[in-house]
């Protein structure tokens, strides 16, 4: 038996330490105890096609969701460079679901269709995307009324043209491009009923050479002195700058151009995603299957004007913007298509659903470059 004299002095500190530790443990248990197991903080997942570090659609969307998540202090998990049509999107969704994401944003048009089954497999997770092709209980399509921006820039183009010819480089005549083109044209008509809008299709979202060729033709062959475009890159502004004609930018603020850069249509992705996340938090996300966000919510806006845009023009644009805030709509009757068919009689407006899914026509007066 060891000499107890050497153990005894140790015993009290030991006992006190144990007691203190136990008291701390008790306090910790009392203070940490939650009546309900705390629901894990929801995370937001973001899946996109391209590289979020390269300027363009991916980067601006990413920055938008990033800022929205900062606003609500939610963690954001990103899967970028996810190609379409390879099953990679479904993998990314499963991955993010495992990571605890409760809201997953599919930031490319084709993702929802491709990963339809996977989305359905996670009914507890809210999905948000930018196409309306898939209908699922837990999927909401969020759209930007970009066409309202085009309507406003149409007014500028109409005011600004001297030749009366406005060139429009479009990717392809689908609902989205038609919607923009028609709204643009309505804007042009509002400012300058005599002006012509000539559209040239490139057949691709991104084909700089074709875009430049089309733009050059519009300028050189048709005499267009204002160019607008609906493409994913900025080949048209480059060409317009080279040709010395005015142009209207799209989606990304463009720097380093001359006064020919009249204005750009901007999408405030941060506001857009902030709205998405807020509705998700309120559990209202899937209350509306389709959700539109436009000028009235500040999601669509114009950049600073070029000095070439005069005060009068600016005033007209501003008044048009105010109309949007008063719930005026772009597509109100009477509207006819190029074939002369009445698409919307007087006193009526085209419903949002129709705009989304049935804009397969160009407005009367739109010319197409052969």
């Amino acid at each position: 038996m060891p000499d107890s004299r050497f153990i005894r002095p140790l015993r009290w500190p030991l006992f006190s330490l144990t007691a203190v530790a136990m008291i701390i443990a008790i306090l910790a248990v009392i203070l940490m105890f939650e009546a309900f197991p705390k629901r894990p903080q929801p995370k937001v997942g973001f899946i996109t096609l391209g590289d979020i570090k390269e300027p363009g659609w991916n980067m601006s969307n990413y920055q938008g969701i990033e800022r929205a998540c900062e606003e609500f202090k939610l963690p954001l998990l990103v899967r970028d460079k996810v190609p379409e049509h390879g099953g990679k999107c479904a993998e990314a969704i499963k991955d993010l679901a495992n990571e605890g994401c409760q809201l997953i944003i599919l930031a490319s048009f084709g993702f929802a269709r491709e990963a339809r089954q996977t989305i359905a497999d996670f009914p507890q997770i809210a999905f948000s995307t930018n196409s309306a092709e898939v209908q699922l209980r837990n999927l909401t399509s969020n759209f930007v009324r970009m066409y309202e921006g085009r309507y406003l820039t149409g007014i500028i183009a109409g005011q600004q043209t001297r030749s009366g010819v406005i060139g429009y480089v479009g990717a392809m005549p689908n609902d989205e491009v038609n919607r923009g083109l028609n709204a643009f044209t309505l804007g042009v008509m509002r400012a300058n009923p005599k002006a012509r809008v000539i559209v040239a299709w490139t057949g691709a979202w991104q084909d700089p050479a074709k875009e430049k060729e089309n733009a050059r033709r519009l300028v050189r062959e048709k005499g267009a002195d204002v160019l607008a475009y609906h493409q994913d890159d900025s080949a048209v502004p480059d060409l317009a700058e080279a040709e010395g004609v005015d142009f209207i930018g799209f989606n990304t603020p463009l720097f380093g151009y001359s006064e020919h850069h009249l204005v750009s249509i901007l999408c405030r992705w941060d506001i857009y995603y902030s709205d998405v996340v807020r509705r998700f938090l309120r559990e209202e996300h899937n209350a509306n299957r389709i959700n539109w966000l436009g000028v009235d919510r500040g999601v669509v806006m114009l950049s600073n004007y070029s000095p070439r845009v005069d005060v009068e023009t600016r005033a007209v644009v501003e008044s048009a913007r105010m109309e949007f805030l008063r719930d005026e709509v772009v597509f109100s009757g009477p509207l006819r298509d190029r074939e002369g068919n009445m698409r919307c009689p007087a006193g009526e407006v085209i419903a949002d659903d129709t705009l989304l899914k049935s804009m397969d026509w160009q407005l009367e007066g739109v010319e197409i470059l052969d």
Binding site: I30, R278, V349, A351
Partner: protein, 840 residues
């Protein structure tokens, strides 16, 4: 555990307990607080969840309403021709508080009421083709559905419910204690027209407004929320839930009790039971702490005790060993001294030898003390009870101590209760030891005055008495402070003052130990400087209740035990490794005419035993090489040794060793130091053909006063003859008065030469009858008066001597009388012609 540690420990235990209780109390409060908070939080959660439920019920009704309206819109657009009529008929059947309308996109009304569309938030969405439910406090709840034609919005129909009918139509008040109302999001507006004054007062009170603000804040980021508000209206839960698909929320409140119901009572129960359990826990903890510390103390104590016991045991064994070793040389010295006493008749040498004997005796006494204590503390000590005679015990004790007291010039007073039972059951030797210890202590520490030995008893019951031994002295006494040390080993009190006093300091320790072993008590009363009284009380069993002083049964004075052994031709072998012991034994046996052979080792003894038969062998037990037992074992094998009695010589006189020796085959044992009488008595039993002069020994010596009547001394003087002694005694009695008269004359006339002659004669006759006390005092006077007869007497010596004569003369006279009285006592039964016999 010392008392000091106990007193330190006790407040610490209390402190620990208080701290424990306080922390339990604090934890209890914290738990209660936390529990309430958790209860409220969880109740808020559950209220929020119920509000979701309410919301889903309401939402379902709203959806149904919207669906009806949608159908109407579809039917209107499907068959435009019948639409007008259909709508008009619908308008007719409207219940109170409900209005409908059909409006163009420019806001103008086609049928029904005009509507100021901006009133209702989000209403314009209907113009983009969305179905709208919108609420505005004071205006009501509106449902609007677009009428579509080919994907275009043609017109809008709506249905408006007043605040007054909302309750009935949508069940907004169908939830028991719950008060429900609709509210636009981010708005404080209330349907004031339909609310009672009390409801308004409630809703407008600041804490409720704050509470609803809190709910609205939460609703901006979640579907449902609830808060607990405690104010002048009591505790209420306020809650809200966003109505999905519309820009309004269902708000409401309900009293706390309605939600909590009996839960709080359960919580109360839990808290109370919890408090009790905590209390119980605290009690158990306290108990455990106390038990633990007690066990700890006990453990320490028992460890200390066992260590102490081990140490004591070791010490005792050591002391016992040492004592034993010391005894052997003392024995030799004593034996040699005895030889000197026997061989010489030179008075001077005899007195030296007496001095040596006294010193030797006190040395043996010291060694005995040490040995006794050591033995008592070692395991083997036992009290052996057997019947003993009360008187013999008293007599022995007095005999041992009285000479010393007298020698110091003390009065030795013996006070015996004559009604003491004659025979008691007990350990006589130990009781005697107690008495002797107390007496010798008293004598030791008393310089002048007297020592009183009182023996009495207190009846206990029929069979038992409490034997009381009291020793009172007029010595230095004991300090109050020292009383507690009195019975501790090796403590001598007042060491400076008592430096000159011999002794081990063990006497009282042994005494108190013995008293305790006999279930007795020892008590000390003392006044420092004046004296002490030691009282020992021992319970004893009565064997013979007859009082010691009863006539007729007076114990015999003399015992005819042995004659002096004379055994011509007997052979005795004495074996001892100590040559002096052999010499002593040989000398002691000289006058018995026994042939004594001696040898120094067991081996030598065996050779002698083989050579010739012996009547008795005295064998030292402790010998080097071959010890007594071994020698005996081997001797038994020898042909002429089978039945030879072997007597062990040993210094170890304990009962245990006696048993052991007898078991080993010894016939008997003789303890060292060997004295002639014992040796002769022992041998007389084994040596045949013995005969000799009969000698008488006193059975007991009633030496109960200063005269110190020592009959054995007298018998010695009478050559062991009772008759001669009695004759001398009666002569002394007869001549006493005459002698006294002569002395008195000489004293009064200061005729010192005459006085010296007379007193010398008195001394001799006192010696011859065994009057030691008288003889001693006579000797003093003789010496003093001889000094006075010197021619060149110095004044100092003259004065000293005269003082001595004056001091002792009266005593001498008194002693003469007392001795005479005592001798008369001795003579009385003899003269009555009674046969003196040993009753045993």
């Amino acid at each position: 555990m010392t008392r000091l540690e106990n007193t330190v420990r006790l407040p610490r235990i209390i402190l620990e307990i208080v701290v424990l209780l306080l922390s339990l109390f604090a934890i209890g409060l914290l738990v209660q607080h936390r529990m309430n908070a958790l209860l409220h939080t969880s109740l808020e959660h559950s209220v929020a969840n119920s509000s979701r439920h309410i919301c889903s019920v309401v939402a379902e009704r709203l959806t149904r309403e919207l669906a009806i309206l949608r159908q109407t819109a579809e039917s209107l657009s499907d068959i435009p021709e019948e639409a007008d009529g259909k709508f008009i008929s619908m308008q007719r059947n409207l219940p109170a508080g409900v209005t409908i309308g059909w409006m163009r996109l420019d806001g103008s009304s086609m049928y029904g009421e005009e509507l100021w569309r901006e009133r209702f938030p989000n209403f314009s969405m209907v113009f983009r083709g969305k179905e709208v439910i919108s609420y505005r406090a004071g205006h009501g709840l509106i449902f609007a559905v677009p009428v579509l034609s080919h994907g275009n919005v043609q017109s809008v129909i709506w249905r408006l419910f007043d605040d007054t009918v909302l309750e009935d139509v949508f069940g907004l008040s169908e939830h028991g204690d719950t008060f429900l109302f609709l509210q636009e999001r981010n708005s404080h507006s209330l349907p004031r027209e339909i609310l009672t004054a009390e409801e308004l007062a409630f809703l407008d009170s600041p804490e409720i407004v704050d509470g609803y603000d809190n709910v609205r804040d939460q609703l901006s980021l979640q579907k449902a929320a609830a808060v607990l508000v405690d104010g002048v209206w009591g505790k209420h839960f306020l809650f809200g839930v966003n109505l999905a698909g519309s820009e309004c929320a269902i708000m409401g409140h309900l009293p706390y009790a309605a939600v909590v119901g009996d839960i709080t009572r359960i919580y109360d129960l839990l808290i109370k039971v919890g408090a009790l359990v905590l209390g119980l826990f605290a009690m158990v903890s306290i108990w455990l702490i106390v038990m633990h510390s007690r066990a700890e103390q006990h453990e320490i104590r028992s460890r200390e005790e066992s260590l102490h016991a081990e140490a004591t045991q070791a010490k005792s064994e050591f002391l016992a060993g040492v004592s034993h070793d010391i005894r052997t040389p003392i024995n030799v010295i004593m034996g040699m001294n005895e030889m000197i006493l026997r061989k010489t008749s030179d008075a001077e040498i005899i007195s030296y030898a007496h001095g040596a004997r006294r010193a030797g005796e006190s040395l043996i006494a010291l060694v005995d003390d040490v040995f006794n204590l050591a033995y008592m503390e070692s395991s083997g000590f036992r009290i052996t009870e057997k019947p003993y005679r009360t008187v013999s015990f008293i007599g022995d004790a007095v005999t041992m101590i009285k000479p010393e007291a007298i020698h110091k010039g003390l009065h030795f007073i013996v006070d015996i209760d004559r009604s003491l039972p004659r025979e008691l059951m007990g350990d006589c030797l130990r009781i005697q030891q107690i008495a002797v210890n107390l007496l010798s202590n008293a004598v030791k520490y008393t310089e002048k005055g007297h020592v009183t030995f009182r023996v009495a008893y207190e009846p206990l019951n029929l069979d038992h008495i409490v034997f009381v031994i009291e020793v009172r002295d007029t010595g230095i006494g004991i300090h109050e402070d020292d009383r507690s040390k009195l019975f501790h080993s090796f403590q001598r009190l007042d060491p400076l003052k008592n430096r000159h006093i011999d002794g081990t300091g063990l006497g009282l320790v042994i005494t108190s130990e013995l008293v305790q072993r006999m279930q007795g008590t020892i008590e000390v009363k003392s006044v420092y400087g004046q004296g002490s009284v030691f009282t020992v009380r021992l319970p004893q069993k009565i064997v013979d209740a007859e009082p010691i002083a009863s006539k007729g049964k007076r114990p015999p004075l003399f015992q005819k035990v042995t004659g002096t052994l004379e055994a011509d031709g007997a052979n005795v072998l004495v074996v001892d490794d100590n040559e002096l012991n052999l010499l002593l034994t040989r000398r002691l046996l000289e006058r018995t005419r026994i042939r004594v052979d001696t040898c120094l080792s067991g081996q030598e003894a065996l050779e002698k035993l083989a050579a010739k038969p012996y009547d008795v062998v005295l064998l030292d037990y402790m010998m080097p090489m071959m010890d007594g037992a071994e020698t005996l074992r081997r001797a038994r094998v020898l042909p002429n040794c089978r039945k030879t009695p072997f007597i062990a010589f040993t210094a170890d006189a304990t009962e245990e060793s006696r048993k052991r020796l007898l078991a080993e085959g010894f016939e008997d044992l003789l303890t060292k130091p060997v004295d002639g009488a014992k040796l002769e008595a022992m041998l007389a039993r084994y040596v045949s053909g013995t005969n000799g002069r009969t000698q008488y020994f006193p059975v007991h010596e009633p030496v109960l006063d200063e005269v110190e009547l020592d009959i054995s001394l007298g018998l010695d003087a009478s050559a062991g003859s009772r008759e001669i002694y009695l004759e001398l005694a009666s002569m002394f009695v007869k001549q006493k008065d005459e002698k006294k008269r002569a002395l008195e004359n000489a004293f009064l006339t200061k005729d010192w030469p005459e006085y010296a002659i007379l007193v010398h004669a008195l001394k001799s006759s006192a010696m011859s009858v065994g009057g030691r006390g008288l003889a001693r005092i006579a000797e003093k006077l003789e010496n003093a008066t001889r000094e006075l007869t010197q021619k060149d007497l110095s004044p100092e010596i003259e004065e000293t001597s005269l003082t001595s004569v004056y001091a002792h003369h009266e005593t001498l006279m008194r002693y003469c009388d007392e001795l005479t009285e005592r001798l008369k006592d001795v003579l009385a039964p003899e003269e009555n012609g009674k046969e003196v016999q040993n009753p045993e």
